[in-house]
Symmetry: D2
Subunit: 135 residues, 4 copies
């Protein structure tokens, strides 16, 4: 599943390309869509008493993206820890599939109330990364 | 009292000027600083059970502002309604005082819990617009 | 023609609603889509040597919009001046059609190089507001 | 040298904390200030025919930061490559010095016109990392 993002005027900086910080936003949007697609919609997993926080981002900026282009961002699970999920994320240009930004994000599951780390819910593991080995 | 804002790279668009939507952010920052200066700091007036929402913005974009410039935003009360405060806001370029954006904002005071309009607190009237006639 | 915008996590503030400055971004996106739809795509009318700047925004915030909702923004021309176009803009909640933000924007056409005001191109008048009286 | 950043209302998300993508903005601001402090002000090094692009970001989110807090971001050079500069960046809470986000950024110097990589200017090496070994 991919989230399609039309590059917007206000996403671009005086160099005429998407400002680097906006990719973190695109990735967050892609995470939301992917989690919703898996059936955990609404306010970020609230239904199962869990929330997600971003613990680490690694972003390699391979090529600039410009106004008028459309991007597609995909996420896949690389591994699950006890309370964390490590993902590989790729943002590609729709027109030619060229990688614009690639990298990883580590998300930690937390109790919706206390924001303390909590084990990755079974239903999340099953839905997002059924084939991924557990540690 | 003025809020000084250094124009940031990510505030500017491919025309090399501050994107219009960012002035709404500058004005919100100026409101916060002005209210804090008046002694109502922390999480937006929470101490007196009140919050503020923006009901209307009028913004006239007089001149573009560019990277490397610094802006100063000032707010003053034009009038108080029962639950609202109408302000005049001016954003000027620090170097020469030229007006970049000017306009008005109408803020409505609301109960911190219900978000329903509530009368402008007396202490706010006294602190922000002591010389302003009431309706 | 309407631009559909899914409310994103980073669009929302600690009150859990879309931050007011983000509507200026939604409106700018809607302007772009509308102009593209009319056949003036790419980098903002560059093909006919013209660019557009925002001269005035009037925004009435009628209702808050929350995460999980989708918005639709429509623009229509109210009048053309010599170098300007006054529009009425409406952002509605997709689920029930309720108006979230409504108002006006005045755009000024400028020479792509000098950024000085230039007459509204005939093809723009014909495409965006064929039924609108000229001043 | 540190860049001080007051956390703004629109920087925070519905969790009431700074949205992760905004730290990339804070880091970009800190880079600008640091480069200016070293004497390369104005439009990003334009004076010496050079521009800078971000090639990689690594960000570890250690603690959330909240409205009302102030952050300080510091950058130091870890190493210079032929056309790149690897930096360590730390964003701390002003009140108690706690690390909020730490990580690395790799910047690549490019020709201002072609955006092709160009050797790190000698004057930049001398100004930003005089004690750093060259590869």
């Amino acid at each position: 599943m991919a989230t399609t993002q039309k590059i917007r005027y206000s996403d671009c900086d005086p160099q005429g390309i998407v400002f680097n910080g906006n990719y973190a936003r695109y990735w967050d949007d892609a995470l939301t869509d992917w989690v919703e697609e898996a059936g955990f919609g609404g306010e970020a997993l609230g239904g199962i008493g869990t929330d997600v926080v971003t613990a680490r981002l690694e972003m390699d900026f391979k090529e600039p993206a410009r106004l008028g282009e459309t991007l597609e961002t995909t996420i896949e699970v690389e591994r699950f820890g006890n309370t964390s999920m490590t993902t590989r994320i790729e943002t590609r240009r729709s027109s030619d599939g060229a990688t614009v930004v690639s990298g990883k994000a580590i998300y930690v599951f937390v109790h919706a109330d206390s924001f303390r780390p909590s084990p990755v819910p079974e239903e999340i593991r099953d839905a997002l990364g059924p084939a991924v080995d557990r540690d």
